[in-house]
């Protein structure tokens, strides 16, 4: 089955992962900007990161026939540094018209602080002024419920925000309704121990339906599983869900959401000519 992983930090993964994902049916990925494991020291550090996301990463993905899209921002952990965050937000528009840039993300909250909220609102303002889609990171563990509610509050504060152009990520049993009831898209992250499992994600879809929802691996430099979406497909098949229904969640829904971005150009796999740039030695 073809699938799209709508949230995976491929910059942290090896080329072999792209190849394994392609063999499992992955035809496209979208990669939000995130924390590198250390706080970057300057706006130029982010500029180089955005070049990697928009130049080299799509090339590397193409070696396995995978189409690569990206999202740009300064993440919530580094948003505690408000002055650096403002420099990064001012620099982001240099990249917004590059091919494959879908919008602003993953912005959000981490520890639910005032500085994080300030920078979240400034990212939303940039997205509204430049008419970009938004991808939102919600905090983990004990911070998730409160942080998700604060994020929804801030989105509702701004009457320029169109909910169907916003994706709220890492939803779980206690936050999925908050996102869906206000008309936002949402995504579940299949991640060992701290987030959702394939079985719980399948439960949430049984309970809340398969509209405006997708699943991702959020594979990154931590303990994570870049083949988590195929695990979800397998769980759904074991439950007797027909492939056409599974395909809606893992393929058609991401396409429907991404298609709202002016930079989203997608070659469906049955017509995709697999142009491979020569791999470097």
């Amino acid at each position: 089955m073809y699938y799209i992983d709508p949230h995976v930090h491929m910059i942290s993964r090896v080329t072999d992962d792209y190849e394994r994902m392609a063999r499992m049916g992955c035809v496209a990925v979208s990669e939000p900007a995130f924390w590198a494991g250390f706080d970057r020291g300057s706006v130029d550090g982010f500029r180089d990161y955005f070049r990697q996301l928009t130049e080299f990463e799509p090339t590397r993905a193409s070696w396995s026939g995978i189409q690569h899209y990206t999202w740009l921002c300064i993440n919530a952990k580094e948003a505690e540094n408000v002055s650096l965050s403002r420099e990064v937000i001012a620099m982001i528009p240099e990249f917004l018209n590059r091919p494959g840039v879908l919008g602003i993300g993953e912005i959000g909250l981490n520890k639910n602080t005032q500085n994080e909220a300030t920078i979240f609102r400034e990212h939303v303002d940039l997205a509204m002024k430049t008419r970009e889609l938004i991808l939102i990171h919600t905090p983990h563990l004990e911070d998730k419920y409160k942080g998700t509610r604060m994020i929804v509050d801030m989105l509702l504060e701004d009457d320029r925000v169109e909910p169907e152009r916003v994706l709220i990520d890492h939803v779980e049993e206690h936050t999925v309704r908050l996102a869906k009831e206000e008309g936002f898209w949402c995504a579940m992250t299949l991640y060992p121990v701290t987030k959702c499992t394939p079985a719980r994600a399948a439960d949430i879809i049984e309970i809340y339906g398969d509209d405006r929802i997708m699943v991702n691996s959020a594979g990154d430099w931590g303990p994570s599983q870049p083949l988590a979406v195929p695990d979800f497909i397998q769980e759904m098949r074991r439950r007797g869900v027909p492939d056409s229904k599974i395909m809606k969640v893992v393929y058609e829904n991401p396409l429907e959401f991404f298609s709202q971005s002016r930079n989203f150009q997608f070659d469906p796999p049955d017509t995709f000519p697999m142009p491979r740039e020569a791999a470097v030695d």
């Binding site: 563990l141 419920y145 409160k146 604060m150 509050d153 049993e173 206690h174 007797g240 869900v241």
Partner: protein, 84 residues
Amino acid sequence: MAGAMTANEILDRLFLEMRARILELAASFDRIDRADSDDHLGEDPRPSQLRRANDIVNSGRYDRAEQVQMIFSDPYQAGWNRPD
């Protein structure tokens, strides 16, 4: 979207896995208590969170997963973003 499997089929598939998880949980509580005979954990809120979560698992509710999540969640204050 209702599940395509009957309750019996789901139980057949999950029984040994659930049995193993409950055993693991029981052994984990035992391990903590064995090491804490002089009540070192005292005011640590986590053991009581785990016990409350366990009570929810044993309840007859249909939203156990959501309620367990809420036990491990910080409280939200409505109006946090309104100037007062």
